[in-house]
Symmetry: C2
Subunit: 345 residues, 2 copies
């Protein structure tokens, strides 16, 4: 008989969690009390962020393993820390699951979370395990950032270059290919075998912590992580900074394989990049005087690929996508959790 | 037509959230970026805790308003801070809701959360709003505590008195009366009118922040908040401290009205206190040499009522409830989220 969460019980499962999670420096008291106790570096600001994921909305256990979900939950917050120029340190997670949840699912989730925590040097110091109708998870993360080297959404100025670190469209392409492959798509299966990075971009995204820190170190003061798609996330910078933007369609950095995925899926690869989201790339506003230096540093230091793909404009000038034929259209597409017709995954 | 979350959209709702929440000292950057930025007191340890609530498991919108749910979500974490001897400071919340959620429910939740945040001096600095099959919410809280004045679950020693601050059983009595009143219980309705504190204990619990701090200030080093019922929570102290416990049934402090509620509900009021949970009272282990001083301080300073109701024993001696007739029975009853037959609310 398969073991379930119900069989093990809340406190049994919590014991397994405590045994699996290792605690790094700064943790004065880890899981098991009413709260964890932490020692933070007094020279730094603390950063604080939260992300939630819900089965059937953010993930589908037919396409991702429970371990993938645990991994991605942590990386979503790690990416937020990266987008502030900061370093992730401590996390707490709350997990909701049906009583009959297969223990392998619960332990897989824990394993993926623990692997991501080890990869990014995060101590998971506490949590809450509750009953819920579907698998739901929320993770909050504390990090640190130097006060004079923060990347804010509000830091873009008219004339700054729009720079993207990392490739775009891979997570969305991977998700659509996984769906197509699951429903019998032979071409999708072949492409996924060749371009394993596409499935992996959806299942096991990376957080660009070194890259965020390097941008801040080079004097950049504005970034966001691309979680809703470049169109929406560049839009968030525009809102918070009070500027407009022009994105050059031909210079948007598509991740490897996205072009072929687009052809196979009969969709514009640019749509995957602009509206797909969950790539956890970084979009930054870089003052023109810094662009060359930033690009050179990234290219010489084996960091993620960097691309200049637009510029921020005067506030009244709106948000546009400039096409290779010289025309332009409104920069659109993104993810609104409550909008009609939206349907991720 | 009633306005729904779907109509307003994720970003529209987030704007309303940002407008409603006020930011206190220490908040360098509030909601709206990839992460909030905080300045913490370098002389203090940071405390970090999380609590989650799920519709149909932790609350029933027929018995509590959405504002009650928002209030209670924050107070659950405030109570964790109190149980460490600390002060709550900053919170982030993730909220999951169906797309068709009545906007009044979403705004009610926000209002209750904001009221609790103001009451306890907590700045809500960020959040995540997602789609989910039922209303779900998770809140993480950062607080501070002096390193030499921490209340830990592991701090009980053999011989210490078991002390309870606050009354027990009111939240459980309130919940059972609300259920009975809703299903037509005339007596329950009358008692709730007289003892509004019982419904309120379920809907709008209080966190004993001053009391936790005072215990720590008086030299106490062990406490827990009573969220699972005194039997389970005293048990948690026993596990973490490696001791046994004897609870004196006749000295367990029942909250006002709990005795009459028990009679009306045909249940032992002591069961409500031992197994009911969610009272957010504090259970502490107080060294015998401090008991008198602690009790006197609490009685003279208009803090919550305090009661000595048991003592911690040698580890091998187990966990017992001593009855007035001189007999004893195993200390049992509490809340396991995945156990068969459990059913809160």
């Amino acid at each position: 008989m398969q073991e379930s969460l119900e069989g093990l019980g809340e406190f049994g499962f919590i014991s397994r969690i405590r045994a699996r999670l290792s605690q790094g420096p700064g943790v004065v008291l880890g899981p098991g009390d009413d709260a964890a106790l932490l020692r933070l570096d007094p020279r730094m600001l603390a950063l604080f962020t939260v992300d939630a994921m819900v089965e059937g909305v953010h993930f589908d256990l037919a396409l991702s393993s429970a371990a993938d979900v645990g991994w991605k939950l942590l990386v979503a917050s790690v990416s937020d820390a990266a987008a502030m120029g900061g370093r992730p340190l401590f996390a707490v997670a709350s997990v909701g699951a049906p009583a009959g949840t297969d223990l392998a699912v619960a332990e897989g989730f824990l394993e993926g979370l623990a692997e991501a925590a080890e990869t990014y040097g995060v101590s998971v110091v506490g949590g809450d395990v509750v009953r819920a109708p579907v698998l739901t998870a929320s993770l909050s993360l504390i990090g640190e950032v130097a006060e004079d080297a923060v990347l804010r959404r509000s830091g873009a100025r008219t004339g700054d270059a729009l720079v993207v670190v990392g490739g775009l469209g891979a997570a969305a392409a991977g998700l659509e290919l996984l769906r197509s492959a699951t429903s019998g798509g032979e071409g999708a299966r072949r492409l996924l075998a060749e371009e394993a990075s596409l499935a992996s971009a959806h299942r096991r995204p990376r957080g660009l912590v070194s890259e965020g820190g390097r941008l801040a170190g080079l004097g950049v003061r504005c970034a966001i992580d691309v979680s809703d798609g470049l169109a929406a996330d560049a839009g968030h910078i525009c809102e918070e900074s009070g500027v407009g933007v022009v994105v050059e369609a031909s210079r948007v950095p598509l991740a490897a394989g996205v072009e072929r995925a687009g052809a196979l899926l009969h969709t514009d690869p640019l749509r995957l990049a602009l509206a797909g989201g969950e790539d956890f790339a970084l979009a930054a506003a870089v003052p023109q005087g810094l662009v060359e230096q930033v690009v050179e540093a990234f290219e010489s230091e084996a960091l993620a690929p960097i691309a200049v793909c637009g510029r921020f404009t005067l506030p009244g000038q709106g948000r546009w996508l400039a096409l290779p034929d010289g025309s332009r259209r409104p920069l659109e597409g993104g993810w609104d959790h409550f909008a009609s017709g939206s349907g991720r995954p």
